[in-house]
């Protein structure tokens, strides 16, 4: 790029950032709103008991392969019965919504959800529902079944969950066309399932209930003739269990203590509800509203990255690339950073409500971190993710991070938002 183009690009960037502030101010009263501190808050309190408190642990998970993954257990029951099974090793994921369980980890037989036959716009006969959901680097596929789910002292009745299986129904072409490998086994998922407690009431929502070309085609009906993409009503889609609790249903807090060095494990809590009990108040946490895509903006070295997010299911700080950050990639480990000495990074996050705060963290050499096979908790693990900041689980160490569900009122406003 020649100097003239560089300066023109700089002008464009400055103009965009200048006018975006003006525009934001025109439509919001939040300008000049609260601004977070530059470092983590004083050591937060980790709730240890309560009907709305689920213990979580950062460890290598049930397959022994994870780093920086938080795991918890839930009890699933055949709806309306006492036929139940407690499943541990579920990845606690604020970056997705819905409970997914490996078929191979499930010993109770859950009833299949089917379309109601004869309804306009749906299949003529009652047909079983299945789903293909792409994650980063893998997809999950399998039937949607119903379970009464008990988590800590909370309960979601007849919750649609995804049962992960390559064989219950053949994987359809629309699923393999994502080009991602299946994460339907313990060795590929690294967990017995995913406890998705993110922003949304359903993993897809209105889009997958729509007929025609606006439907992204994640849900299928599977008559004996084969699975076909279908419009599936929101209530029959895989649901965020929290939003179906009778109380404490407007969001969650992940509470994990601060970490100063690599460790073998770490214990914390997943607390249900925001401002619904004495143990889940915002306590002055800054609210960062999510935009329509569930993202916030992160500014780094004069550039803004508008598809940034906070996600307990990402196992590191994933951001930008080595060219932009100056932090070298690992040569043998694809997707991690390997600086010769630990690098400090500072960036400014801004929510859609105008609130902003500085985030500071450090990135160590992933090769060095992984050289001790017993460690699974790394507060300085990171890697590249182009044009965005993905604040993964290390961001949660030493912070109580609130994730508020879409459309649900809380003392900090209506979700979706993060607060910490």
């Amino acid at each position: 790029m020649n100097p003239e183009r560089l300066s023109q690009a700089a002008i464009a960037t400055r103009w965009l950032s200048c006018c975006s502030v003006v525009l934001a101010c025109a439509f919001s009263s939040a300008c000049g709103g609260s601004s977070g501190s530059s470092t983590k808050n004083a050591a937060p309190v980790v709730a240890v008991s309560g009907a709305n408190v689920l213990p979580i642990a950062v460890n290598s998970g049930p397959a022994g392969l994870y780093v920086d993954g938080a795991f918890a257990s839930a009890t699933v029951c055949v709806p309306g019965s006492s036929t139940c099974q407690t499943i541990d090793g579920l990845l606690v994921d604020t970056g997705s919504s819905g409970l997914r369980i490996l078929s191979s980890a499930l010993t109770v037989s859950l009833p299949q959800l089917s379309t109601s036959g004869g309804t306009t716009g749906q299949a003529a006969a009652s047909e079983p529902i299945a789903e293909c959901l792409p994650f980063l680097g893998s997809y999950t596929w399998g039937p949607v079944q119903a379970a009464d789910v008990e988590i800590a002292g909370e309960k979601a009745s007849s919750l649609p969950v995804q049962v992960l299986s390559d064989t219950a129904y053949p994987v359809p072409q629309g699923c393999t066309n994502f080009g991602l490998p299946s994460a339907n086994s313990l060795s590929t998922l690294g967990a017995n399932g995913i406890l998705g407690v993110g922003f949304y009431a359903q993993d897809c929502g209105a889009a997958c209930a729509a007929a025609g070309t606006a439907n992204p085609g994640l849900y299928y009906t599977c008559p004996s003739s084969g699975c076909q993409v279908a419009a599936v009503s929101a209530t029959q889609q895989v649901q965020n269990p929290v939003s179906l609790f009778s109380s404490d249903n407007n969001g969650v807090i992940i509470e994990l203590p601060a970490v100063s060095a690599p460790a073998a494990s770490l214990s914390g809590s997943l607390v249900f509800g925001i401002g619904t009990q004495s143990n889940n108040a915002l306590n002055g946490a800054t609210v960062y509203a999510a935009d329509q895509n569930g993202n916030l903006t992160t500014a780094y070295k004069g550039k803004s990255y508008s598809t940034s997010f906070i996600d307990s299911g990402s196992n590191g700080y994933y951001f930008l690339d080595s060219t932009t950050t100056g932090i070298p990639d690992c040569t043998d480990l694809v997707g991690f950073y390997c600086p010769s000495s630990t690098q400090n990074v500072s960036a400014t996050v801004q929510g859609a409500n105008g609130n902003s705060g500085t985030v500071s963290f450090s990135i160590a050499n992933a090769d060095t971190l992984f050289s001790n096979n017993t460690d699974t908790v790394f507060n300085q693990l990171g890697g590249p993710s182009s044009n965005m900041f993905d604040f993964g689980l290390p961001f949660f160490f030493g912070r109580n991070v609130f994730t508020a569900i879409e459309g649900k009122p809380t003392p900090g406003g209506t979700g979706p938002y993060w607060a910490y």
């Binding site: 200048c18 893998s138 025609g212 070309t213």
Partner: protein, 164 residues
């Protein structure tokens, strides 16, 4: 505000001479050929597949064909002066049909993605850096973005930063 207006004027001075925005009318059926690495006609094949609307932006070194799908996902295809698609990018709530988008590079991508699966986590951004193909993908449930390009086919004046 005055500084804003000044910057705006300078920005427009920069944009107007070098870029023309053309909205294309829908053309007749095109062969359903690959996008990445394919010819310009493959863009229309992608458009038909996505049932999206197409907007073409012509710059000096290349043109950008932007397909807005009814699902809300936006795909951009970067076409060289020789008419070859040398890069694609995508952003939106849903992951596009990568088989359609990557064409003959799909198998290479799928094999590389599979090789990385389960390495210390199932859930992290995807990064493929091979001599003939670079692909980066990040995001979360209901927000995906990424890009893929052919490093040995980038027009000489195009940097990877231009592919967004």
């Amino acid at each position: 505000m005055r500084r804003c207006q000044d910057l705006l004027q300078r920005l427009l001075n920069f944009i107007l001479p070098s870029v023309a925005v053309i909205v294309l009318a829908l053309a007749a059926a095109f062969p359903a050929r690959a996008a990445l690495g394919g010819d310009a006609a493959s863009v229309q094949a992608d458009q038909l597949h996505m049932q999206g609307s197409l907007r073409k932006t012509a710059a000096t070194a290349y043109s950008v064909h932007e397909i807005q799908a009814p699902t809300g996902t936006v795909v951009r295809e970067y076409v060289s002066p020789e008419g070859k698609v040398f890069a694609v990018s995508w952003q939106g709530p849903w992951l596009p049909d990568m088989h359609q988008l990557l064409g003959s590079y799909f198998d290479q991508y799928a094999q590389a993605a599979k090789a990385q699966a389960g390495v210390r986590a199932a859930r992290r951004p995807l990064l493929i850096e091979q001599s003939g193909l670079v692909l980066q993908m990040g995001g979360h449930n209901r927000s995906f973005s990424g890009r893929a390009y052919l490093p040995d086919q980038l027009p000489s004046s195009v940097t990877q930063e231009a592919i967004q």
